[in-house]
C-alpha cells in the first residue's frame, strides 16, 4: 500500500497538469457538463423506443457463445 501511494505522488505529469487547469474552472465545467447532459437527455426522450416494457420483453437472444 505504501508503495502504491508513493507511486500516486509520482503520478504522470499529465495528471498534474490537468488538475491545475481544472481547479479554477470547476464550477464552469460543471455547468457546461449539466447543459451537455440535458441536451442528450432531451434527445434520448425522443429516440427511446416507445413502450419500453414490451420492447425490452421481446428482446430474447438464444444460442450465443
Amino acid at each position: 500500500m505504501a508503495e502504491r501511494e508513493l507511486k500516486k505522488r509520482q503520478a504522470p505529469p499529465r495528471e498534474t497538469t490537468t488538475e491545475v487547469e481544472e481547479a479554477p474552472a470547476a464550477s464552469e465545467r460543471g455547468e457546461k457538463l449539466k447543459a451537455e447532459i440535458d441536451d442528450i437527455l432531451d434527445e434520448i426522450d425522443e429516440v427511446l423506443e416507445d413502450n419500453a416494457e414490451e420492447f425490452v420483453r421481446n428482446y430474447v437472444q438464444k444460442g450465443g457463445q
Binding site: 504522470p12 495528471e15 437527455l41 429516440v47 423506443e49 437472444q61 438464444k62 457463445q65
Partner: protein
C-alpha cells in the same frame, strides 16, 4: 520468447426483427448477410478443412466435436477486407481480418460495425413494409442469455499453456474496469430479479470456471480451445472469450492493447518473483463487476488483498519495466505498444482520481452517467423499464436510435478510413493476400479460410494455397507478386504452388 501479437476480434451481434411477431433470428441473420453479399461483396464460401474447435490446449481432443457451421450449413462468407461474415447459431457474427497492431484492430472492429450497418440498409429493401431488422453490439439480452465478443492473439507455442493461464487470469479478471460495457441487472444463475444494480461488465455474470474448453455454458475465464489457424508447431491462438463488446474505440484499444502487452510479459516470463494469481478468479470477476465505485477488494492466492485498480497498477508497473528493458515492438509497428502503455496509465490514473472523467472514453462510465442523469430527471429507479430500454439501446447500431452515438465519445479512427476498411484488408498480415485475391480473382476462388485459399482454375484438381504464417502474405511480401499478374493461373505459377 515474445512474438508479434497478430490479433483479431469476433463479434456476435444481438439481432431482433421489429414489426414481426414470429421472426426467426437465424433466418433474419441469414437474410442480413445475404443481402449484404448480394449488394456489395463477392461471395466466396468458407473452407472448413482445417477447423477443429474441439481441440484442447491442455493436450486432448473432445470426441465428436464438430464446427457447428458444418452441421447446419448456415451462411458463411469471406469479404475482400479479409474478414469472415457468417451466421453462428442464431447471431450474425463478424470476425475481423488478422491485424498486426491493436490500432489496426480498432479500425477493423469498427469496419465490422459499418458492414452490419450496410447490411441493415440492404436488408430493409428486401423486408415487407413495417418490418425492420435491428442489431445490437452487446453481450446479453438481460434475461440470462449471453453472446460473445472473442479476441484472438498469436502466442509462441513453446510457452507452456499452464503459465499463460496462471499469469494472465488476474489481468483478464481486472481489466473490466476499463473494458466493461456496463449493464443494469444481474444474470448469474440463481440471482434474484429484485437485485437490480448497475454493474461494470456485460459478460461477468456468465463466467463459472477458471480454465476450460466451453464457450456456451460453464464459460471459463481462460479458454483452452487449441486451434491455431497457423503453423501448430510454432504458434498458439489464445482465444479470449470473456470480453465485453465495446462501442468505445478507446476501450477496444485498451482491451486488445493491454492484453497484448500482458502476453509479451508472459512469453518473456517477466513476472519474476511476483505472483499475482487470484485466490478465486470466478468470485473476483463477479465482485469487481458489481462494484462501480471500484473499492471492492480481491484476494490473491498469497493472501494479499487489493482492488482491481491496484492490481492493474501492479501489472502496469511490470509492463513499464518490461518496456524499458526490452521494448514493446511485438505489440505492433511504429510505437503502437508505447501508445497503449501511455493510454493505460492515463486511464488507471483517471479511474483512481475520478471515474466519471472518463465519460467520453469508456463504455461503462458513459452508460452509467447517462442512466444516473436519466433517473434523476425522471425520478425513476434502476428497475424502471425505461432504464432497461436505455441499457439495450445504448448498443443499437442504427444511427437514428443509437444512444452511444449521442454521447460524443472520443474517436481514434477516421470515418473514411473505417469505410475503406470494409473493403480493404490490413496491409501487414496474410489477410492482405486473402483479401486481394478475392478482389482480383473472385471467379477463381471457391473457398477460403484463415490459413488457406482454394483456387479452381477450371482444371482438376482444385489448388489449395496454404497460409500458415500469419505475417506472410502482407503487402510488402506479395504486392510485387500481384504486379502485372494477369490471371490466377499466373499467380499460382509465380507462387510455385
Amino acid at each position: 520468447m515474445a512474438i508479434p501479437k497478430v490479433c483479431g476480434i469476433e463479434t456476435e451481434y444481438g439481432i431482433q426483427v421489429l414489426g414481426s411477431a414470429d421472426a426467426n433470428p437465424t433466418s433474419a441473420a441469414s437474410l442480413l448477410i445475404n443481402a449484404y453479399v448480394a449488394d456489395v461483396a463477392t461471395r466466396v464460401g468458407w473452407d472448413f478443412e482445417d477447423e477443429s474447435p474441439g481441440r484442447d490446449a491442455r493436450g486432448f481432443a473432445r470426441e465428436g466435436s464438430m464446427p457447428p457451421e458444418v452441421e447446419t450449413h448456415l451462411v458463411n462468407t469471406v469479404l475482400t477486407n479479409g474478414a469472415r461474415y457468417y451466421v453462428d447459431h442464431a447471431h450474425p457474427e463478424y470476425s475481423t481480418p488478422e491485424c498486426a497492431s491493436p490500432q489496426s484492430l480498432v479500425l477493423h472492429d469498427r469496419a465490422g460495425e459499418v458492414v452490419l450497418l450496410h447490411s441493415l440498409e440492404a436488408a430493409r429493401r428486401l423486408l415487407p413494409p413495417g418490418e425492420e431488422i435491428v442489431v445490437y453490439k452487446n453481450n446479453s439480452d438481460g434475461k440470462g442469455n449471453s453472446y460473445g465478443c472473442h479476441e484472438n492473439y498469436l502466442v509462441d507455442r513453446s510457452v507452456p499453456f499452464a503459465r499463460i493461464a496462471h499469469q494472465l487470469s488476474s489481468h483478464l479478471v481486472t481489466r473490466q474496469v476499463y473494458t466493461g460495457a456496463g449493464k443494469v441487472g444481474r444474470e448469474t444463475p440463481g440471482s434474484s430479479s429484485h437485485q437490480v444494480c448497475f454493474q461494470i461488465s456485460q459478460r461477468a455474470d456468465f463466467f463459472e470456471e477458471v480454465v476450460g474448453l466451453e464457450t456456451t455454458l460453464k464459460r471459463p475465464i481462460v479458454n483452452t480451445r487449441d486451434e491455431p489457424h497457423a503453423d501448430p508447431q510454432r504458434y498458439r491462438r489464445l482465444h479470449v472469450i470473456l470480453g465485453d463488446a465495446n462501442l468505445s474505440e478507446v476501450a477496444t484499444l485498451l482491451k486488445v492493447g493491454v492484453t497484448s502487452i500482458m502476453l509479451l510479459l508472459v512469453e518473456d516470463d517477466a513476472f519474476g518473483e511476483r505472483d499475482l494469481a487470484l485466490a478465486n478468479p470466478v468470485q473476483a470477476i463477479h465482485e469487481v463487476s458489481l462494484d462501480p465505485t471500484l473499492r471492492q477488494l480481491v484476494e490473491l492466492a498469497n493472501g494479499e488483498k487489493m482492488t482491481a485498480l491496484e492490481l492493474q497498477w501492479e501489472l502496469f508497473d511490470l509492463a513499464r519495466k518490461h518496456a524499458e528493458d526490452r521494448g514493446l515492438a511485438e505489440v505492433g509497428p511504429e510505437g503502437s505498444g508505447e501508445e497503449v502503455l501511455g493510454r493505460w496509465e492515463q486511464t488507471l490514473a483517471a479511474l483512481e482520481h475520478d471515474p466519471a472523467s472518463l465519460r467520453h472514453q469508456l463504455d461503462w462510465v458513459a452508460k452509467r452517467e447517462l442512466i444516473d442523469a436519466y433517473c434523476a430527471r425522471h425520478g425513476c429507479g434502476l428497475d424502471d423499464h425505461r432504464i432497461a430500454a436505455l441499457d439495450l439501446q445504448y448498443h443499437d447500431l442504427r444511427p437514428s436510435r443509437s444512444l452511444f452515438r449521442r454521447l460524443e465519445m472520443e474517436r481514434l479512427v477516421d470515418e473514411a478510413d473505417v469505410e475503406a476498411a470494409t473493403r480493404n484488408p490490413p496491409r501487414e498480415t496474410r489477410a492482405y493476400f486473402r483479401g486481394e485475391c478475392l478482389k482480383r480473382y473472385p471467379q477463381a476462388i471457391v473457398a477460403a479460410n484463415w490459413d488457406s485459399i482454394v483456387f479452381d482454375l477450371g482444371e482438376d484438381p482444385l489448388r489449395r494455397v496454404p497460409m500458415m504464417e500469419p505475417l506472410r502474405g502482407s503487402a510488402a511480401h506479395v504486392d510485387t507478386l500481384f504486379d502485372g499478374c494477369g490471371s490466377p493461373a499466373e499467380l499460382l505459377r509465380r507462387l510455385g504452388a
